[in-house]
Subunit: 143 residues, 4 copies
């Protein structure tokens, strides 16, 4: 397993709307792909965005990064891998890689740093134990 491929991935197909006049995926759209992979990752570990809201916390993003390694085109099928890189007191760093399904070409890598907040104050608060445990359990399982 290469460093880019994490255990979890979700598959998506590049839509016409996601391309730009250079003929490939608009660079900003990889953040949408990563965000969607994070949504599905949360389903995989069993703590969804809605579960966080139900537990009385919300999640804001404080940082994103993306490196563009090659180009993806209309109808390319991408496996978007996601994993947790690190967890702090109130923040979680998620790591992503978009890889073409048909030839394993790495298209983009990136990170999203999220912070758990109190919905009333919008101030950072501790990552809930249930979220930490679900991540740890998922990441440490053999695939």
């Amino acid at each position: 397993m290469t460093i880019e491929k994490s255990k979890f991935f979700t598959q998506l197909r590049v839509r016409f709307a996601e391309t730009d006049l250079q003929g490939h995926v608009f660079f900003g759209n990889y953040l949408i792909y990563f965000d969607e992979a994070l949504t599905q990752y949360q389903h995989a570990i069993g703590v969804t965005f809605q579960d966080l809201l139900n537990a009385g916390v919300d999640m804001f993003y404080i940082r994103s990064e993306c490196e563009y390694k090659s180009r993806a085109f209309f109808e390319d099928v991408l496996n978007v891998h996601a994993r947790v890189g690190s967890i702090g007191n109130s923040s979680i760093t998620f790591e992503f890689a978009a890889i073409k399904a048909h030839n394993d070409e790495l298209v983009a890598t990136g990170k999203i740093v999220a912070v758990i907040i109190d919905p009333q104050t919008k101030k950072p608060t501790r990552v809930p134990e249930a979220f930490r445990d679900a991540i740890a359990k998922y990441e440490n399982q053999n695939s």
Copy 2:
């Protein structure tokens, strides 16, 4: 004055992100342009979306239409005209035309039918008199 040009227009410039692999503006993005023109139209008449919320009503869209007359490209400056076509009990039909600023070429026309709703029930309710009056006053003024 041609039929397409209404008194009100807002000007915008086509962004790189709004193009697609055919090299022109993605067809779905004209609805974003029309929506933005509607926002600015409401400022022109003096009853904004926020004013509607403050008055205890919300506005949902129930229908949209767009006709594509020619193509717009990256960096084209578009004058997006907006006016009210008709007002019913709870609905308002807004009409739009996107015209290239540099040569008056008609790019797209369209409509959005909006309905005023009660935020609690999400059911249609009467278009507020203040909104009707502001529209009538604006549309009937000499430009």
Copy 3:
């Protein structure tokens, strides 16, 4: 079978990025869903957008319509149905319906009128026989 459900549908899940501050799917994004359904419909009948380009023609959209029947939310799974409503000399009218997978609620219906063009002149040209035949064969098969 209700009138809205055509034989073909593709399934998609509402992304966070596709919502707006009213909490539901931004109204313009249904055109992206319909466009994606059209892409997949073309795969189902065996004549893709790339096949059209390879055959020496291109396809532009000249009209779109959308009616919003109810609201879709983050993570809702939508079955987006697509079919051909009519074919003229150079134009094809595609019809769509987005239906919630979990409760069969109709969310939106719409149309896209496409015209086959000559890539050099950008003028309308006859819908290729192979495309007509593929549509007829698919639509007339028992499902």
Copy 4:
């Protein structure tokens, strides 16, 4: 002048379409704002994207970063500042800051690393002298 405010900025207003269900600007859309600021920055220095194409080179993005400092909302007017941070042999690092016009609140900062490429080979090539000179002249002028 604070470190975030560069000489050049372009002004934009948050569109309804750019918000998400959390009520603020979707995090991925800041890359669209930065990209638009870069487009306008190139006009300010006198070497546009089209000028690069005319000079026989193209420009791809190889990296983006964004830090989210506060939240922007529907209709907020943002001054999006842009400047060149550094220039290598084939790459240019652009730096951005989005600041609310009405209260000077810093909303987001970010970077885009672009690489000049040969349109045929898609391989990196030297940043044209005319582009370097235009940047140097603009950045070194007194504002």
